[in-house]
Symmetry: C2
Subunit: 325 residues, 2 copies
């Protein structure tokens, strides 16, 4: 089955829907789904908080009888395993009798991988695989990282000056970036299951790590401290970067500092993404964002990071870098 | 006299020509000039090495009789003062009998300011002033800085990692940026009259500050050391940032490090432009590019710098920031 340009646009819309669940779906992938019939969107769904209903179930319910003969765009193949928590999506899709199903990426869960696709095929439904696969994979990277490496996807966030300082020498860091960049950083918190700082940062700054965006207050991630500090009420504590693997239902982890914590995650090879907010200011002799993490040579530093996004946020710049897989 | 879109394009071409003289015209402005008749370019000129011939003289000589009835685009008003070093450009222009003259910016030299324009007007030649004035001013900023503040225009260059380090903790800095960025940095050297490093950098690195670009070897700037080091052969030495005002025939000064030197120029309010090359690498605990320069508060750091350019150079990024006037 060949796909067309219009298919890419609908799949991009499904990926955009999947972003809505990011940081809220527990151990489940944040899938997105859109159902289109004769150019009209008849159903939209995304994995709901906690992981259920699944995206396909939500979209199919919305579409109702209109799903018959429609095209279903879904960012990951429909699940095929039985669960006490809800229906099996591949069954729901088969029952709906769509004209075709377009899947961006296969599952990596061995219980389901290719099984969902195979079931659809056996039921005579044409299936396409791989449309916008990279984009879909990136949007659900937390789930994939969890299954492939047994740990969350980890983002290191830094807000710094042009000369790479995250604070003045005396620790003053309010404010380096402007309002738009700070709001964006809070949005990134809302898209994370958990947020981590080192015990030094916790003791020095007593940071409130909640989401301070109107309407998203209930999306504050689980705060976690790395180190020996007593964890405040409702916080969790880990002894090492590796221990974040044990955090329950955390696909997306945001690391917000300080320099020693950043270094310990880099040293462990556990930073998947850099979120760099840079303000048009020069500090001079301020505090660096990343301490020595044992880099052996400049040569070894190259080839590790690829910029996947850059945008202006007011006077500040956001750059996002992804680590080589 | 109204100008049209085509006029902007020709003036932009004159500005591009003026760039050719940057760093080579001594105390003179690096002017550019283009002469257009019925849509055909009949003359192009730019201030020649050492300052003579002037751009208009060169373009008019090229145009010859074709300058009659043509449009002359020149980045600065033609000179009006007598000099033993060459002809007075406003006289040359009047003699050529052009249809009109378009000038991007007035001179600031009191011997000439408005005099060149006035002479043309008295001779009955229509004159327009101000087309692409900001762009022209930026391209000749060295000359204007020299006349307005009695010192060269000063650019601080840094080549750094994403986390703002210019070297590893042990001083290793080969190579942070890639080949394209390094070539661009050498081009910036070729566009400078002088290049300065601190005595610490001189002693530690013994840098060769020449232009290592094929065909531009003769454009290496005058090397200068700041501090108490003995200046190597052919180098000059200054005791303080302020002393660069005494460097003869230097409109454009490039400061290449180290961190203390950068700080001393910032502290003196003597950095007009930041040239930031950033490689997609993370160093961690490396050397900062700018030492403490006495910044009093983060608030005071804001509103100082505006980005005027950003481009990718291979995997690296170049950002150019301009200081608020």
């Amino acid at each position: 089955m060949l796909t067309e340009n219009g298919d890419s646009r609908y799949m991009a819309a499904a990926i955009a829907l999947s972003e809505r669940g990011r940081g809220r779906t527990g151990a489940n992938p944040n899938v997105g789904c859109i159902i289109v019939k004769k150019g009209i969107v008849v159903g939209r769904g995304w994995t709901q908080p906690g992981g259920r209903p699944h995206a396909e179930a939500m979209a199919l319910e919305q579409a109702g009888a209109a799903a018959r003969g429609a095209d279903i765009y879904v960012t990951m193949e429909p699940c095929a395993h039985e669960s006490t928590r809800g229906p099996t999506c591949s069954n729901l899709v088969i029952d709906a009798k769509p004209a075709r199903v377009l899947v961006a990426t296969l599952d990596v869960d061995e219980r389901t991988r290719r099984h969902g696709i195979d079931r659809l095929g056996e039921a005579g439904i044409p299936v396409s695989i791989g449309l916008l696969e990279q984009e879909a994979h990136r949007t659900m990277a937390g789930f994939f990282m969890r299954l492939e490496k047994g740990r969350p996807h980890i983002t290191l966030k830094l807000a710094m000056s042009l000369d790479g300082c995250i604070a003045m020498a005396d620790g003053t860091s309010k404010w380096i970036t402007g309002d738009q960049a700070r709001r964006h950083a809070h949005l990134e918190r809302a898209r994370s299951d958990a947020i981590l700082v080192g015990s030094g940062t916790l003791e020095a700054d007593q940071p409130g790590l909640d989401v301070r965006l109107s309407g998203l207050e209930d999306r504050s991630p689980q705060p976690v401290v790395l180190g020996q500090s007593d964890a405040p009420d409702n916080w969790l504590r880990v002894d090492s970067p590796q221990a974040v693997a044990d955090l329950k239902n955390v696909n997306w982890l945001l690391v917000e500092g300080g320099a020693g914590t950043a270094a310990s995650f880099l040293n462990a090879g556990m930073v998947d993404r850099l979120l760099l907010y840079r303000a048009p200011i020069v500090i001079g002799g301020g505090l660096p964002g990343i301490a020595d993490f044992g880099l052996e040579s400049l040569e070894a530093a190259h080839g590790q990071w690829t910029r996947i996004e850059r945008c202006d946020l007011g006077e500040d710049v956001l750059e996002i870098y992804e680590h080589a897989a």
